[in-house]
Symmetry: C2
Subunit: 294 residues, 2 copies
């Protein structure tokens, strides 16, 4: 049972922390991936250029694609989770082609599935296609940025796009409500399609409770999340995952503090089947027919 998740956004938006928090495992080693590469690139850049004029090339950080896998057990179900990231995305002074390696990766995975499917013996086709694309939005509190819109438009018809507001503890409750409204307006204006559960299986009779739960999940889009694997002991003695500030402790699993619980429900608990089905029956089929037409 494969689950392939792309986690994309500028550096330091808490992507690896959130992934590790979602699965309660250190899937992505903290700082090892990004830290090592960035320092290496930076060092060479600085050594090569002691230029007085900063050219576009000097501030250019290459976008790499990295994949990390882990075996997870969720509710008795064994999952092989792969997390695909793109360190370097959005890091340059000129980010015009930042999205290309990411789109190439999505296409490549479709291509290898297409190729595997068309073999005579296809009993063991491994599904490496991207089932969910988590896009991390910087918590500016204003609206989507040009780069956000650019990449979301490039991928929304190839993947289940789930935009989330990263590090939402930067924003007060009111700021989050305003930000969510503006983001949804931007998304609509730009014609960007985001993943909505029960869109695809709208004819299956779901019980009342599930439908309400799903409505509640959708009402929180885009999720404003906080991630942390640190355990903190509260005044009442309970231990929670959270971030400790001099003025208070934000708790990851507290739905009054952020939408982490909802994201986990969407991504892992309630809609895993739907994410995979939509990928194989709609997104992949569209890609396949587009490709075979040419």
């Amino acid at each position: 049972f494969n689950l392939n998740i792309m986690a994309i956004g500028e550096s330091r938006l808490g992507k690896s922390t959130l992934i590790n928090t979602l699965f309660n495992r250190e899937i992505i080693p903290k700082h090892q991936i990004d830290e090592f590469d960035n320092d290496e690139d930076d060092e060479t850049e600085y050594q090569n250029g002691n230029h007085d004029h900063q050219t576009a090339d000097e501030g250019d950080v290459q976008v790499k694609i990295k994949s990390t896998s882990a075996d997870i057990e969720e509710d008795g179900v064994k999952l092989k989770v792969s997390i695909i990231t793109a360190p370097g995305f959005g890091e340059s002074i000129n980010n015009s082609d930042s999205w290309k390696p990411i789109v190439d990766e999505i296409n490549q995975r479709f291509d290898s599935y297409l190729e595997a499917e068309s073999r005579i013996n296809r009993t063991n086709v491994i599904d490496n296609r991207i089932h969910a694309f988590l896009y991390f939005i910087e918590p500016t509190g204003h609206s989507l940025r040009s780069l956000d819109i650019a990449i979301m438009k490039q991928v929304h018809e190839k993947v289940n796009l789930i935009p989330i507001i990263a590090k939402s503890d930067t924003l007060t409750f009111e700021e989050i409500q305003d930000f969510k409204k503006r983001i949804l307006l931007d998304i609509e204006y730009q014609g960007i399609k985001i993943f909505k559960p029960l869109n695809y299986e709208i004819n299956e009779t779901e019980d009342e409770e599930t439908l309400l739960n799903t409505k509640e999940i959708i009402s929180k889009f885009p999720f404003a999340v906080v991630g942390s694997t640190k355990e903190i002991t509260l005044q009442d003695g309970s231990v929670v995952r959270g971030r400790k500030y001099p003025w208070g402790i934000i708790e990851v699993d507290n739905e009054q503090h952020n939408d982490f619980v909802k994201l986990r429900q969407l991504l892992i608990r309630n809609f895993l089947e739907e994410l995979k089905d939509y990928t194989s029956k709609v997104l992949y089929e569209n890609y396949r027919s587009e490709k075979l037409k040419k």
Copy 2:
């Protein structure tokens, strides 16, 4: 008594909020400047392009220079404060020339002073030169970005450069300490000169207390600040300026919560003279001799 401050950094880093907090006045109307321009540009961009391919030009936001003035009274001294901002800086997909309009503005102000000084009647030369350049660093918690380094290298020999960590309530106490260390290492590695009080007037005998106070201010570089003009009533009935979160209230004027008080001391209370002196006697003179050589 003129004080001209440039406040530069990406959009939504809390620049206008911080300025208004520093002077306890709504000098920069919240959201009016940025909101209006960005929406206008965005609308035209979207209408012009329903392009399927996002070109570098589409994601390009122009950098404008804006100036707002206010008459302030500080400790019985009347100040005419001008705040110069650059909406659009860092907002494009391609930011290669983002810094040019800002450097041009600094140069233009030196040029008009040079020109005014060389007239026969120069009793009323108005000092519009930039006395302090507040550079807002995004609270990634990692290190400086390419764009940060690029612009700081472009301006550090023309202005008193004061880098600050914006929205520092995103970071825990430990994260702030690490971040400050890394930023100072980056600054040193890159040969970037930042403003240090008593560098210039090092021979004047300062009393012991002032020296200690100055040492303490310098030890907090780069300041990690939070801004807010909102007044909140605490449990004990006291009213503070701060930001209210479901998990706690961060107080702007509380030195346990952030370095706002130190920034205010540096910029307005204790070193106003030094900022202006260093500008006129060192930075301006360097510019002038460079210019007259050519």
